[in-house]
């Protein structure tokens, strides 16, 4: 059901492009106005999101610890999994952001038939697919710079020559294109095949996957099957980059690709995709575990009125003695 909701949303988007460009001829809307609006939504939405997170106070260290805390000098601490210094935190964050270290700990539980016991074992597939997916995505983004910038940056040329190293087909097939589609498809299949994950999956889990698979798919078709006039594409994109937009002269599928990218950008700050910013701001990861060495005072603690036992006894000593209740200090006045 959730899959169908997401799929319907995607089909609707596709229908909108087809009707808009092919039937109504709104190439300027889909080629210029919507992309500009989407980029603005992405940038402003992300800024608002991050600032709202930045304003949220984190008075205490709520680090998740996965190793020995730094304590006595003869106990060896785990400097990365239980960081006590900023350097350790930087190491931990780098491993988290670039290698998805916490996902590497992913485990799978299953009740073995016949054995009647729960077996917990490592499960690296999600980590591997996630890593392949995100890194391919980054490389694909960097490859696209050749259409956004003139002259084409050297780094882009280097990346694409490495990516198309095997020179299969004309235009050359990039290995990250294949890797991206494979990984995204497997991430989708995982949600369908594993009953526990399917139970947890919402339309908002399927939708970004469908969106990304469609973007990648349309890009691959444009490059390898339709063989779009790439010079025209660059003219149009450079027109957008220099605020001298001109639309037209390109097939509907190009507008489909562009529109879905626009949807992705506009959807980004309001959805789970914002984990791109969130991963950096996870208080369970980006704080040093120094709770016991440094005193952290909650800044908005209410100044609590206290009435100590000494003060109490001082006040009621006479009555307590009269009632035979033992007191700590006999009357000294």
């Amino acid at each position: 059901m959730n899959v169908l909701v997401a799929l319907t949303a995607l089909l609707l988007l596709g229908g909108i492009v087809y009707l808009g460009v092919e039937i109504a001829g709104l190439e300027f809307l889909f080629g210029v106005i919507i992309p500009y609006a989407a980029v603005l939504t992405f940038l402003i939405g992300l800024v608002i999101r991050v600032i709202s997170w930045a304003r949220t106070p984190v008075p205490f260290r709520i680090t998740t610890t996965c190793g020995q805390q730094r304590s006595l000098s003869w106990i060896s601490p785990n400097r990365i999994d239980n960081p006590s210094t900023t350097l350790g935190v930087l190491g931990r964050m780098a491993l988290e952001i670039f290698l998805f270290r916490s996902l590497f700990r992913n485990t799978r539980n299953e009740l073995r038939e016949g054995e009647n016991r729960l077996v917990i074992g490592p499960s690296k597939w999600l980590w591997l697919m996630g890593l392949a997916f995100h890194w391919s995505f980054l490389i694909i983004l960097l490859r696209h710079l050749r259409l956004f910038v003139e002259p084409v940056p050297q780094i882009t040329l280097l990346i694409q020559s490495l990516d198309g190293f095997f020179q299969v087909g004309v235009p050359v097939v990039y290995s990250t294109s294949l890797l991206f589609v494979t990984a995204a498809t497997l991430l989708f299949v995982r949600r369908i095949v594993l009953p526990q994950v399917r139970y947890l999956s919402l339309p908002t889990d399927y939708f970004p996957l469908f969106l990304l698979i469609s973007i990648a798919g349309s890009g691959i078709i444009l490059r390898h099957f339709i063989k779009i006039d790439i010079v025209r594409v660059k003219e149009v994109v450079l027109g957008l980059m220099t605020f001298r937009p001109e639309a037209g002269g390109l097939p509907v599928l190009f507008y489909f690709h562009l529109f879905l990218v626009s949807v992705l950008l506009a959807y980004f700050p309001f959805s789970k995709l914002v984990h791109m910013a969130g991963v950096v701001l996870s208080p369970t990861r980006n704080l040093a575990n120094n709770n016991r060495r440094i005193r952290h005072v909650n800044p908005w603690d209410y100044p609590v009125k206290t009435h100590t036992y000494q003060e109490y006894e001082e006040e009621f000593r006479g009555k307590m003695i009269g009632a035979g209740i033992p007191v700590e200090e006999e009357d000294n006045g």
Partner: protein, 131 residues
């Protein structure tokens, strides 16, 4: 709380990184440089139509290579019925003599690497070297 400054700094860094293609474009060039092709003078047209060649020339060259190298066929019959020798050096470069004035104009513009030149050589250079 105390990290507010650091987070804003990171955010600004991200925004600069995100919009860097735009700044690069604004700072690195004046106007929109478009490829300028030097077309051969006195020719009626290419092997196929202009639109076809523009989008699919690499496809055609690939098929020519396969036909010549694998099947030994050397004659290409175009959609208009004319016969051509399937040869990059002879037919293509016979008219489009300069790689820099023709091929590289678009290929550099869109950053598309063509590996024709790892085997083939421009006839112009060949004549110069032979002298």
């Amino acid at each position: 709380m105390s990290d507010y400054g650091k987070i804003i700094l990171g955010l600004v860094g991200f925004l600069v990184l995100c919009t860097s293609p735009f700044w690069y474009q604004v700072l690195s060039s004046d106007g929109l440089p478009a490829p300028e092709l030097k077309l051969p003078v006195g020719e009626q047209g290419c092997v196929e139509s202009k639109e076809y060649m523009r989008a699919l020339h690499m496809d055609l060259l690939n098929r020519w290579r396969d036909a010549v190298v694998r099947d030994g066929e050397r004659i290409y019959v175009s959609t208009s019925g004319r016969e051509y020798q399937m040869s990059l050096t002879g037919t293509c470069l016979g008219c489009h003599t300069s790689r820099a004035d023709f091929c590289d104009q678009c290929h550099t513009y869109v950053g598309s690497e063509n590996y024709c030149w790892s085997c083939h050589v421009e006839p112009i250079n060949l004549r110069v070297e032979a002298r």
